[in-house]
Subunit: 237 residues, 2 copies
């Protein structure tokens, strides 16, 4: 937790926050915080600043707040991601949020196991929790927007074009002829399939929406590694 | 396991391999392989090819082998990494191996907890196992070389320069003035500190060896995310 991320309901009076639960435990047990310590704080979807711990006990921590800056710029990439296995979903979401992606669609694909869509990790509160952990890691306050689309075809044919907006559209595909470009300026949309890749029909459907298939070389990467590697490769020069 | 990685001791006769243990279990339980199936195989530090399953039972699998290609090119980056926490070390090593890094030093830093150096995961057999898993993931056969250096100063002052060889030398440092360059051609060495970063003394010691400090923006990334993001960013255009 590199940032104590506060929400409106944590505010108790002017420039003062009262927190309990997981964040309180983290302060006491991991950070070993004490009264008088100063922490980096942020307000969800708001500014960054500092929090001075005025009171800290087993029940709550009270901090006085001073706002002093804005969160970092977003990464100019919208991400379309085939729904990962539940086991790695949390890690991927945290990583995506820490890296500064603000628009994410989790989409079905032929190689996504149907059972993944009934994972309790896809409940809104569970998704939100992983994103908050990612923001705490990355020192950011702006919550990414997630769409869940359990049907590939209607999403891609009816919704994707408007969702992407302007900018380059790329889909990572092992069999693509072109290598993934590097150091892109301007907003872009990146689609990443399941570990075995999107199937040819899915690639064609994305190409029909203006996506260019690009490859990453001959290596096969885990989804969390592929996401970070590709976002790094595409990040503006 | 995207590659069945064989070692010399698995070979039983001309172009034939006999395997047991973890890999046999994986074939039977995860891949659901059967006699007659063809698998992508590789020989450790050797070629890639195909293996036809001639026999498969609870005791062993016997495959006939046909070698047909070379492993993918290495990623042209040598990595100096502050020793991560044991909990993430395995994942980082697998990721580094899957991405194609071939030269890695795990080094001490002021912010590395001393206890990490006594982790059983640093035993040669345990390190090798994680790297083999990474090669199986990334479909590569060339085992990365790892050095463990539990003393920062003598390593950096006496050994690092020769180890790096020619090429750009970069150290990721949150307080650096320059952003990390993108799409680099030619070999380079990249140093990545612990999550809180190298301390100023360590940065100076690296600068004295020709390293340029570069930053990644304002975000703080987990080591596994930072490694993949940076390797993506630096990968040749």
């Amino acid at each position: 937790m590199n940032l104590l991320l506060l929400q409106e309901e944590d505010l108790c009076g002017a420039d003062r926050a009262c927190i309990g639960g997981r964040r309180l435990q983290h302060l006491r047990q991991v950070l070993g915080s004490q009264t008088g310590d100063c922490l980096r704080v942020g307000l969800l979807n708001g500014p960054l600043g500092e929090g001075l711990i005025e009171q800290l006990d087993a029940r709550q921590a009270v901090l006085s707040l001073r706002w002093s800056g804005q969160p970092p710029d977003e990464l100019p990439v919208r991400l379309v991601l085939a729904l990962p296995r539940p086991k790695v979903l949390g890690r991927v979401l945290q990583s995506v949020a820490a890296l500064g992606v603000k628009q994410l669609v989790l989409v079905n694909s032929w190689r996504v196991d149907k059972s993944y869509w009934s994972s309790p990790l896809l409940q809104p509160a569970a998704l939100r929790q992983q994103l908050l952990l990612g923001l705490e890691q990355g020192v950011d306050t702006r919550l990414p927007q997630i769409l869940l689309r359990s049907r590939f075809k209607p999403f891609v044919e009816d919704e994707l074009h408007d969702w992407c907006g302007a900018g380059t559209r790329l889909v990572a595909h092992p069999a693509a002829a072109a290598p993934c470009p590097a150091a892109q300026n301007g907003f872009l949309t990146l689609a990443i399939g399941p570990e075995g890749g999107f199937i040819p029909y899915e690639i064609e459907a994305l190409q029909a929406q203006g996506f260019t298939a690009v490859h990453l070389g001959r290596r096969i990467l885990r989804v969390e590694t592929a996401v970070a590697f590709l976002l790094g490769r595409l990040s503006p020069g």
